[in-house]
């Protein structure tokens, strides 16, 4: 662990490196704080990658909202009855 990361300038990365790490970053799969800083620093000054990131976020959010389905009440009842008989 390096607690002094904030004391040093974050090394800039190019767009390709940023995009390659973008999904891991957005999915919360990036554990390395240095790598996270690099991505965030790049997004702060790269309009193109920032827009791409916003698009991915929006698409993911729309997907989450669109994919949800209302569970029929009869299924809730069925499961309750099922578990009661266990």
């Amino acid at each position: 662990m390096n607690d002094n990361n904030n004391d040093h300038a974050v090394v800039d990365i190019d767009c390709m490196e940023a995009i390659n790490g973008l999904y891991a970053y957005l999915d919360g799969e990036m554990d390395d704080p240095v790598q996270i800083s690099k991505i965030e620093n790049h997004l702060c000054h790269c309009r193109s990658c920032y827009s791409r990131t916003e698009f991915e976020k929006t698409l993911s959010e729309r997907l989450r909202k669109s994919a949800g389905n209302q569970t029929p009440e009869r299924l809730h009842d069925r499961l309750r009855n099922l578990i009661d008989r266990f």
Partner: protein, 231 residues
């Protein structure tokens, strides 16, 4: 280290329900506690289970049967689940296995993207993300004034695109993007390495974007200026 979800923990019985919990001095009380805990866990994930089952079976009745079957199997194996904080991915795995063994053959399959979906490595670059391959025109489209209109149709469009994804990508995207599972959890549910989940997510998203992009062009959601720019 895979300690939470394994096939050993998955129920293998069909209909023969073995109540978990041991007979103790409190006897029935112990079982009731277990049952109450099980019931709470199921209640908390019913919506997610049903949504996933519906996307897999594409049929309301089958989705409900699949959820009920999965819950039955989960009950028979509940005692073997050591970490109950992992109930959700554990139950997803049971549902996925149940789907493969009993429901997949009869599920209605729409025309899916013609794609070599069994290839899980990153060696193919023909489907590089639109965000890399077509950055300028894509960003022009995305930032144009019609964006709000596109947004208003996006839910329906997205689900159509999801439906056309090959099953391996569809379920991976749903588990990670919709249900919020980590790559490791999704890997355990699908019984594949985490790296496979990562590559399926990349490819699934790429196919999704490609499909939406084509739909936007065909539906006239892309302005003439942008079409000229991309032609």
């Amino acid at each position: 280290m895979n300690t939470a979800i394994s096939d050993d923990n998955a129920a293998r019985t069909d209909g023969n329900i073995r109540p978990p919990g041991r007979v103790t001095d409190t006897g029935q009380m112990k079982d009731e506690d277990t049952k109450a805990a099980f019931s709470r866990h199921v209640e908390n994930c019913t919506d997610s289970l049903y949504s996933l089952a519906l996307r897999l079976t594409r049929n309301n009745a089958d989705a409900e049967d699949l959820v009920a079957d999965s819950v039955t199997k989960a009950w028979s194996a509940f005692e073997s689940l050591e970490d109950r904080n992992r109930f959700r991915p554990w139950l997803f795995r049971i549902l996925h296995n149940c789907f493969i063994s009993s429901y997949r053959k009869k599920s209605v399959r729409p025309v899916e993207h013609a794609y070599n979906d069994l290839v899980d490595d990153d060696s193919h670059d023909d489907l590089t993300s639109l965000l890399i391959k077509q950055p300028d025109e894509f960003l022009l489209w995305w930032s144009n004034p019609e964006r709000e209109f596109v947004n208003s149709l996006l839910g329906e469009d997205i689900m159509s695109a999801i439906e056309m994804l090959p099953e391996a990508f569809r379920i991976t995207v749903l588990l990670v993007n919709v249900e919020g599972l980590s790559y490791d959890e999704a890997a355990e549910v699908l019984d594949v390495p985490p790296g496979t989940v990562r590559s399926r997510m990349k490819r699934g998203r790429t196919l999704l974007q490609k499909s939406l992009w084509e739909h936007a062009r065909e539906a006239g959601l892309v302005s003439d200026d942008i079409k000229r720019c991309t032609s």
